[in-house]
């Protein structure tokens, strides 16, 4: 059974903290994605990576960075957490060059910044 695993289901952090959200996939996919989900706004792409050490900005990269040191792991970093980053964060993976293959999602991390 294919799997994308996010390290935490729920997180509460303080304003100004550096926050790490971890995602691991076991499908040997090249592409990995971080989305943010907010009510009424749907899913918005923060960053994606199509290879180890490669990253591309999505639609809303401000205040975030990412790291991909190994193919199976893609980390999202909030450099200095702010209350407007309270949200649901979703990680996904998919194979490259096969656009007809669906993306697989993790269970999500609900982050609250206080």
């Amino acid at each position: 059974d294919v799997k994308v695993t996010q390290s935490s289901r729920y997180l509460v952090k303080r304003t100004g903290e550096k926050v790490f959200l971890e995602c691991v996939q076991d499908m040997d996919h090249e592409n990995m994605f971080w989305y943010r989900q907010d009510p009424g706004l749907g899913l918005r792409l923060i960053y994606f990576s199509y290879d180890v050490k490669m990253k591309e900005k999505g639609d809303i990269p401000e205040g975030y960075s990412v790291s991909r040191e190994k193919k199976e792991r893609f980390s999202l970093i909030l450099e200095s957490a702010s209350t407007n980053q309270t949200s649901m964060y979703l990680c996904a993976s998919s194979p490259i060059g096969r656009g007809g293959t669906e993306a697989f999602f993790g269970q999500g991390t609900r982050l609250t910044v206080v």
Binding site: V4, Q6, R9, F33, Y35, G40, L41, G42, L43, L45, F48, Y50, G58, L90, A92, S94, I96, G97, R98, G99, G100, E102, A103, F104, F105, G106, Q107, G108, R110
Partner: protein, 114 residues
């Protein structure tokens, strides 16, 4: 740029009645189209996809979707709704290159009443 519109924030239907959740898209070239479902505080689960071929696509849990190229639509349907179908539904599009990211609609909440 590719985009997806889900014109209804919420769809209400009685159990046993047919349901339709609407989706229209914009993309360069031929589209790859996807439907996902999300239950509360969970990640997204893949339902079905259109790549090529028959315009009527069948997926999980009795759902199907109809691709209409002239209307650039990909509406999700089910002949007989269940209360357990109540969830948030997302439509997504990717271009046929295989190298673009998935773009999601804002989601439609489906509420099925007993």
């Amino acid at each position: 740029a590719q985009s997806v519109a889900q014109p209804e924030d919420q769809v209400n239907v009685a159990e046993g009645n047919p349901l339709t959740v609407k989706c229209t898209y914009s993309v360069s070239g031929n589209p790859y189209l996807f439907w996902y479902v999300q239950y509360p505080n969970r990640g997204l689960q893949f339902l079905l996809k259109y790549i090529t071929g028959d315009n009527l696509v069948k997926g999980s849990y009795g759902f199907e979707a109809e691709f209409n190229k002239s209307q650039t639509s990909f509406h999700l349907k089910k002949p007989s709704a269940l209360v357990s179908d109540s969830a948030l539904y997302f439509c997504a599009v990717r271009d046929e290159s295989g190298y673009s990211t998935l773009t999601f609609g804002k989601g439609t909440m489906l509420l099925v009443s007993p």
